[in-house]
């Protein structure tokens, strides 16, 4: 991984990001705006499953409202995230938080996608019974906790030394 980060940091796109001081904070700011959209979209869908918000809306109406915003903002996050990896390869790729975060992003995206597919296939049963099951409500809470964990790990990429010997940062 270290030779790869060294190669990546010497590519012209990486050098372009590194040499303009304002680029990284701008990308990070856009990343945070998109986090706002993703987190809130997941939150509103989870609240609907729990019956704490949007009770005048069906599950289908709720996912139709927030699903597209979730996917759109996830695309923005992937793009800005990729640019951050290209701009600062060692900071991201040699960080334990980064890889744990990527794993949780995969899990979170998989849950959101399968929920929407399952709902489409069996709309009536979801509205009438499935969403009322305790396991589904627990899953909604867990899903939200996963996204909270993703946001925390994102910030901890800047502090990888907190992981002690698990940190992938090369020892000086």
């Amino acid at each position: 991984m270290i030779p790869f980060t060294q190669w990546l940091s010497q590519t012209s796109i990486s050098l372009a990001i590194q040499t303009n001081e304002w680029v990284i904070p701008t990308i990070q700011s856009i990343h945070i705006v998109a986090i706002g959209v993703v987190l809130t979209s997941v939150f509103m869908m989870d609240l609907r499953v729990l019956g704490w918000a949007g009770r005048d809306q069906s599950l289908r109406e709720t996912t139709a409202r927030f699903g597209p915003w979730l996917s759109g903002a996830l695309c923005v996050l992937l793009t800005t995230g990729l640019l951050m990896v290209i701009g600062e390869p060692a900071r991201e790729l040699l960080s334990f938080s980064f890889w744990l975060k990527m794993f949780l992003v995969a899990v979170g995206t998989l849950i959101a996608t399968s929920f929407q597919i399952a709902l489409k296939r069996n709309e009536q049963r979801w509205e009438e019974s499935i969403a009322k099951r305790r396991t589904i409500k627990v899953a909604a809470v867990l899903t939200f906790l996963i996204w909270i964990g993703i946001v925390i790990l994102g910030r901890f990429i800047a502090y990888d030394h907190v992981w002690g010997s698990w940190s992938l940062v090369p020892k000086a």
Partner: protein, 182 residues
């Protein structure tokens, strides 16, 4: 007692010291600040997009507001608290930082915008509650709100890049290895 005395008192408080020497506290405060502001921005965007007639247009405005605004305020409390705790670790530097000051001014502007909305278009909400989009004054408030909150996020990120981090040295606190030996 002048501003400088207040800043010095905050900075030399036991609480500020506790945060500065900890390996985890400052990054955790930052993380919960991001979680809080993401929720503040996201829920406000739901309201603004509804006012503009761009999303949730079939639901009455008041119903969305009552669904969402309690979470906005709870998240705002979290964001303000974590922000204050970060501020006291390096109060003098933040206080004199251009981006910090701009951000505080924009927060005041966002509050004023909300207040004006409540006192004008908000008063007649029952006349347009079910309309696809709100009256012109309310739509203007929604655009201003979105622009201001996005700018606040940018300013916040710039504060981090223009102030020295109160980051602890790796060996001042518990090492994770001691808790989970490999």
């Amino acid at each position: 007692m002048g501003v400088t005395d207040v800043l010095t008192a905050l900075e030399s408080s036991h609480l500020a010291d506790r945060i500065r020497i900890s390996l985890y506290l400052f990054p955790l405060l930052e993380s919960f600040h991001v979680l809080g502001l993401a929720t503040v921005f996201g829920t406000i965007a739901i309201i603004d997009l509804r006012l503009l007639g761009l999303a949730s247009t079939r639901r009455p405005f008041t119903r969305i507001a009552s669904d969402v605004l309690k979470w906005t305020w709870a998240a705002f409390a979290l964001t303000a608290t974590t922000g204050f705790l970060m501020f006291i670790t390096n109060a003098d530097v933040y206080y004199h930082n251009f981006f910090f000051r701009s951000k505080m001014a924009l927060l005041a502007l966002a509050g004023l915008n909300m207040l004006i909305f409540e006192l004008t278009a908000g008063r007649s909400v029952h006349a347009w509650d079910k309309d696809r989009s709100a009256p012109r004054a309310a739509r203007a408030a929604a655009v201003l709100s979105l622009v201001v909150w996005i700018t606040i996020i940018f300013m916040g990120r710039w504060i981090g890049f223009t102030t020295s981090h109160s980051q602890a040295k790796p060996d001042t606190d518990i090492n994770l290895e001691d808790i989970f030996p490999k």
